[in-house]
């Protein structure tokens, strides 16, 4: 039975390094590379921004992943929506006013009203 204990010890050591919570950040894991390629925004920065809210306590890894991913989708949508106005103005460069117009035209973007008026 001593052999079994040794093996269990070895495996628990390797389990410590294969930390589930670190799977996104771990450097040498092939699984982590897969997760990294799924995201094009730094998940840790997203976490930092979430933490600004005093009501937010704990969020699961999945939750942070989903927010990061949805932020990517949001970025694309916002750009696409704004570019409609760029094209309307027969321009090729997306400008701030195009974003303004997009915010006013889409209901779901109404939470952004007033954000652009504040100094950066």
């Amino acid at each position: 039975m001593e052999n079994v204990d040794e093996i269990a010890k070895e495996n628990s050591k390797s389990n410590v390094t294969n930390n589930d919570t670190d799977v996104i950040q771990e450097e040498n894991e092939p699984e982590e590379e897969k997760s990294e390629k799924m995201l094009h925004l730094p998940i840790s920065r997203v976490r930092t921004i979430m933490k600004v809210d005093p009501e937010v306590h704990i969020a699961s890894q999945e939750a942070v992943f989903l927010i990061t991913k949805s932020t990517e989708l949001f970025l694309e949508s916002l750009a696409k929506e704004a570019y409609r106005f760029t094209a309307q103005g027969k321009r090729k460069t997306l400008q701030k006013k195009d974003i303004d117009n997009a915010i006013e035209s889409a209901d779901c973007l109404s939470f952004l009203e007033g954000v652009l008026d504040a100094p950066h």
Partner: protein, 205 residues
């Protein structure tokens, strides 16, 4: 154990493995003592960012990196399109606002259901509530991929242990069988069950 995507892991408090959550509360951080000494914090009002991380966030930490933002935005517009600098900067703000917006909605739902942890379902629900329900289906697919990618970590440890134990169990059972045979032959020598190898040496063909 830290991330490789960005170095900005400020105040990152990870709970142990089992919970797979991270602690976002500011009350447990060391800087609380300092915050209490400041005049503006002597009353109980929550100063924005004053008592959470214990220090105001630098501007670059409040926003996502502009290069990443620009790259993703470009995916949404036709090839020759460009994005003006001020447009990129204002989208940076919009994006942080978006994150806060979704998070706050999800957090409210959590509190209403008397839960402490914001989970994936809360986020998806918030998307629907806030008018981003067209994101929900793609997000579910990504979530599935994410779960598969992170799940493959787990069986590594347990299956190895399991296989080793199976062998051991098998050996033990074989030994038990041999010991019985020995007794049946009327041999009186005492067999001490210590090492399988030694046991096998005692067996007579």
């Amino acid at each position: 154990m830290d991330n490789s995507e960005s170095g900005d892991d400020l105040g990152n408090n990870f709970l142990p493995v089992e919970s797979q959550n991270f602690l976002v509360q500011g009350e447990d951080l060391d800087d609380d003592g300092d915050a209490a000494l400041t005049a503006e914090n002597t009353d109980d009002s929550n100063q924005g960012g004053g008592d959470k991380p214990g220090y105001p966030l630098r501007e670059q930490d409040r926003f996502l990196p502009i290069a990443n933002i620009a790259k993703i935005m470009k995916r949404g517009i036709p090839e020759p399109g460009k994005i003006a600098k001020d447009a990129r900067e204002c989208v940076q703000e919009c994006v942080s606002e978006f994150i806060s917006f979704i998070t706050s909605e999800a957090s409210e739902r959590c509190q209403a259901e008397k839960r402490k942890t914001i989970n994936g379902e809360d986020i998806l629900f918030a998307m629907t509530t806030l008018g981003f329900d067209n994101y929900v289906e793609p997000l579910k697919l990504y979530l599935q991929k994410y779960r598969e990618a992170t799940k493959s970590d787990k069986p590594l440890g347990t299956s190895e242990i399991y296989e080793e134990m199976t062998e051991e169990t098998f050996n033990a059972q074989a030994l038990a069988g041999n010991m019985l045979t020995t007794d049946q032959n009327g041999q009186t020598e005492t067999v001490i069950y210590t090492y399988p190898d030694q046991m096998q040496q005692f067996q007579l063909a």
